[in-house]
Amino acid sequence: GAGVSQTPSNKVTEKGKYVELRCDPISGHTALYWYRQSLGQGPEFLIYFQGTGAADDSGLPNDRFFAVRPEGSVSTLKIQRTERGDSAVYLCASSPMTGTEQFFGPGTRLTVL
């Protein structure tokens, strides 16, 4: 079956611009997670959705970052006024229900010039 997909696979933007990153979870998975992986490091948690609601957004670095999941399926991570330090691979994962194995997408590589 289809896995987690993320679009775009690569995004290059200029400092100060707004970007949206999309995640399509595995069909039927109720939990969805966003992580950020900087070069040479392990992924770091950003936000977790259970259904449509953000159950834990404690990993979002600041208020420039926001994520939505309006229908409990697709999620969009939104970054306002991008900074060079936002450059990283943004990973999405989903799981059938809270607490079970997380399945990861291939990631979106964001480069802020």
Binding site: G3, V4, A31, Y33, Y35, G40, Q41, G42, P43, E44, F45, Y48, Q50, A55, D56, G59, L91, A93, T98, G99, T100, E101, Q102, F103, F104, G105, P106, G107
Partner: protein, 116 residues
């Protein structure tokens, strides 16, 4: 707070020789522990997981790990390395399944190189 420390950032082995990737964890709970592998330009793939059942956990592709509470370790091993094992490996901790925070906490990774 929970954390993991991967003791080696880079490990190089010859094909056919054993692999040992070391991981120590810190957790306030009896944790769930995982090893994920990341091949270049591929998504993270779960190798194996420990969730308070048997302390010796077998995973895919011949990998296994042993949970040692007294040593707070969860080292990953494989008897014989294959060229296709070359990748980045992450040790991961989370709160016990069904409790606590849902997010995974990743180590900094160990890059495994396999020499022919």
């Amino acid at each position: 707070a929970q954390s993991v420390t991967q003791l080696d950032s880079h490990v190089s082995v010859s094909e056919g020789t054993p692999v040992l990737l070391r991981c120590n964890y810190s957790s306030s709970y009896s944790p769930s522990l995982f090893w994920y592998v990341q091949h270049p330009n591929k998504g993270l793939q779960l190798l194996l997981k420990y969730t308070s059942a048997a302390t010796l956990v077998k995973g895919i592709n011949g990998f296994e790990a042993e949970f040692k509470k007294s040593e707070t370790s969860f080292h990953l091993t494989k008897p014989s390395a294959h060229m296709s094992d070359a990748a980045e490996y992450f040790c991961v901790v989370s709160d016990p399944l069904g409790t606590g925070r849902r997010a995974l906490t990743f180590g900094s990774g160990t890059r495994l190189q396999v020499q022919p």
